[in-house]
């Protein structure tokens, strides 16, 4: 077995709208770099088999499981975490606000992943049907709320975002 340390990756990417540069090893996951190196702990680690969605972040607007997505893949791309959602004036993103308004979380562990997954949906399909929301959110698991408030929150966020666009 080779004892050589694999070359470090000089990783540069856009993180929540700002350019970042960080060194990582090829086998490091995006969640390890986000949580361990960049102190962004919003992405939660749970199942580690791409089933639960707690670690969801957006890479070039698409949701990925950051727990098993190599940080190396983020090179030159745009990464959005829950920490990057609030507006410049520190107001919450409409999806965040609607999750609060509709009581769409209890313990909150799945919430960052839920909200980012919902954001990916609404940015791509601003006016989804309930079936489309359910289909899209199928891979994000919540053990507390029973999902109905989450569905309501996303439905409401779609309406709020539509109104804001005018």
């Amino acid at each position: 077995m080779s004892k050589d340390r694999p070359a470090l990756v000089e990783l540069r990417f856009e993180l929540n709208g700002k350019d970042v540069a960080v060194e990582c090893e090829p086998q490091q996951t995006l969640s390890e770099v986000l949580r361990g190196r960049l102190n962004l702990t919003g992405a939660k680690i749970s199942c580690e088999v791409q089933v639960c969605g707690a670690c969801t972040v957006l890479v070039d607007a698409l949701p990925v499981s950051s727990c098993t997505y190599l940080a190396y893949e983020a090179q030159g791309r745009s990464v959005t975490t829950i920490e990057g959602l609030e507006g410049r004036d520190r107001t919450l993103h409409p999806i965040q606000q609607c999750f609060i308004d509709e009581f769409a979380f209890q313990c909150g562990f799945c919430t960052p992943g839920m909200i980012l997954s919902a954001k990916a949906l609404l940015d791509d399909n601003p006016d989804p049907t309930d079936d489309e929301i359910i289909h899209h959110m199928d891979g994000n698991l919540c053990r507390c709320t029973g999902y109905v408030p989450i569905l309501k929150a996303i439905r409401k966020a779609a309406a709020v975002m539509k109104e804001a666009r005018g």
Binding site: S2, P26, Q28, Q50
Partner: protein
């Protein structure tokens, strides 16, 4: 959980270099695409590699396009790319529909068709459908290209038949004519399907079935067809409908069902009957 063991990532410039790398690293290296299965297995220390060869570095492997009488789907195309491909939706809608329901939205965004087929997970949706649609895999090695049927490519559970230096580059799927009806259905409670069933019927002018291909997945090491079932599924539509249960039994026999944590053999046998009835109704437009 433990972090991933150390490995190096290599970016081949073209297929030739990828084949050289595969040959050079032997058992210590493997191709890496979306990582949605490979990295999970590595994370659980079920697989160990010191070298991952990132096949996404080779440009052009993610194309989905019409070529002669086929739809060509590049091995590097993600499930999402295939789901959303206009040409796939138009020419082979059953493939787009199947892809729209693979795993979850995150897996679809990164996982590739090629990775899915090469990993040969017995619960693969694409493998079952492509077996029924008579898809042909294209493999490129140091000495050239060869074509493999799905049966030939899928050697066993988690096992493909590619040579050490071969790269799966894409799949050719024959374009369905106007008389072909296709359906893919699955039943799923947990994160992976318990049963996938693909049915492809060639109808004649009177609406009777000239030829049938049917594949089931998830319940055997690789997806399987049954000659006996397919001959029962051909003939006048009304009499085929009478024989669906018999055909389902033939499929179940072929799969050599076993009791496991996903369900008993008896339960799986029942599900094959349910999905075959539904697929036949869908293909024959009997759902009103």
């Amino acid at each position: 959980m433990m972090p991933l063991r150390r490995f190096a990532i290599h970016r081949p410039a073209d297929l030739g270099e990828a084949a050289e790398m595969l040959d050079h690293y032997g058992d210590t290296g493997t191709l890496y695409a979306g990582g949605t299965e490979l990295l999970l297995a590595m994370r659980h220390d079920l697989l160990r590699y010191e070298h991952l060869i990132d096949i996404k570095a080779v440009a052009g492997l993610d194309r989905v396009e019409r070529r002669d009488g086929h739809l060509y789907i590049g091995a590097g195309a993600t499930h999402r790319t295939i789901e959303r491909s206009a040409v796939c939706r138009e020419l082979l809608p059953v493939m787009s529909e199947m892809e729209a329901n693979v795993a979850n939205v995150r897996v679809r965004a990164t996982g590739t068709l090629g990775g899915n087929l090469c990993f040969a997970e017995p619960h693969s949706d694409p493998a079952t459908l492509l077996l029924a649609l008579d898809g042909t895999a294209r493999a490129q090695g140091k000495s050239g290209e060869r074509m493999l049927s799905m049966d030939e490519l899928l050697a066993g559970a988690y096992e493909n038949s590619l040579a050490q230096d071969e790269v799966l580059t894409g799949v050719d799927v024959p374009l369905p004519g106007p008389s072909q009806r296709n359906a893919y259905l699955k039943f799923q409670v947990h994160e992976r399907p318990l049963l996938g069933l693909a049915l492809s019927l060639e109808l004649d002018d009177g609406g009777d079935i000239r030829e049938a291909r049917c594949a089931i997945g998830c319940v055997s090491p690789t997806p399987c067809r049954s000659e006996a079932a397919e001959s029962l599924l051909a003939g006048p539509a009304d009499s085929v409908e009478q024989r669906l249960q018999e055909a389902a039994a033939a499929l179940a026999d072929e799969a050599a069902l076993t009791d496991d944590r996903e369900g008993s053999a008896e339960y799986k046998r029942h599900l094959i009957g349910v999905l075959l009835h539904r697929a036949a109704r869908k293909c024959l437009n009997r759902d009103g």
